[in-house]
Symmetry: C2
Subunit: 174 residues, 2 copies
């Protein structure tokens, strides 16, 4: 198995001074490494009989769609407001300054459907927590939340308490 | 084979009056149909020995990532300006009013690497044409451009002349 972490590029001071951005494009561009990363994510939930992947815009689409393809199950995009054309549910969440929101189509998930939520990175957890609420509103049975990367020092996991939260690459500091 | 077109939802007057939005989420949520759509796209280029998928933000990530996973090859995201953290190439393109632009990391594609460009929808072709220029700047060997949907009446194909352009669902009118 490849050391996945060494394929993540740390870009200092992006998007602003003092932040070390975890760039996954250096992992994605390596075919075998990307493939293996998807398989490792899949392995963590292989016994759960997941029926639908919910992927968070926009890097969550990359891992989410590959997982959905692998498992032959449906893919549901969670998007910023105004992007989805049909009737949606919406959840706001707090940012450092102000608020943002995410939406999902109302007909995207069925009552009691087993769902896995996918994103590339767990930072403060605001978007993932809002996505949990969206899926709950529609009655989905959330089997877990999976991230390629987790920034342990931001404690995003605290916002996702009560759920099976998995990440495969962790950072303890910037 | 499923009739893929019947899984596309037409949403009238979105994002503005008179536009019939082609909503792919009703196809994506059906696991077997999504899987088959990816396989049909793949089939069109199965003899080309593609080495990298370039997917256009953000719905192009969905089909592009699934294809990259299927073929065990690298995935490269093309994004709106300011999203990619490392050094990029950039191309502007014209909109109905004003301009927009797309970026790709400079180290995303190698000289002579065989590349397939993927997006969900060919409308006026501006974004895809700009993406062709990005890949050419880096010396990539473009094997084709593939779309799930093509709006024939917008003549986007005209902007992609000289390339192998494939779509699997076509609309002749709004």
């Amino acid at each position: 198995m490849a050391d996945l972490q060494k394929f993540i590029r740390n870009v200092p001071d992006f998007p602003k001074k003092g932040i070390g951005f975890k760039d996954i494009t250096t992992l994605l561009r390596e075919g075998k490494v990307f493939h293996e990363a998807v398989d490792v994510l899949a392995e963590k939930f292989s016994d759960k009989e997941i029926r639908k992947i919910v992927g968070i815009e926009s890097r969550g689409f990359i891992f989410g769609a590959a997982l959905a393809y692998k498992w032959n199950i449906g893919f549901v995009p969670v998007r910023k407001p105004g992007k989805l054309p049909a009737a949606t549910v919406k959840e706001e969440y707090e940012l450092e300054y102000g608020t943002d929101a995410v939406e999902m189509h109302k007909d995207a998930v069925s009552q009691n459907e087993k769902v896995l939520i996918v994103d590339d990175l767990l930072a403060t957890g605001g978007t993932a927590a809002a996505t949990l609420k969206l899926v709950r509103k529609l009655g989905g049975d959330i089997q877990g939340v999976v991230f390629l990367i987790e920034l342990n020092f931001l404690n995003g996991r605290e916002k996702l308490k009560g759920y099976d939260v998995i990440s495969i690459i962790q950072y303890d500091s910037e």
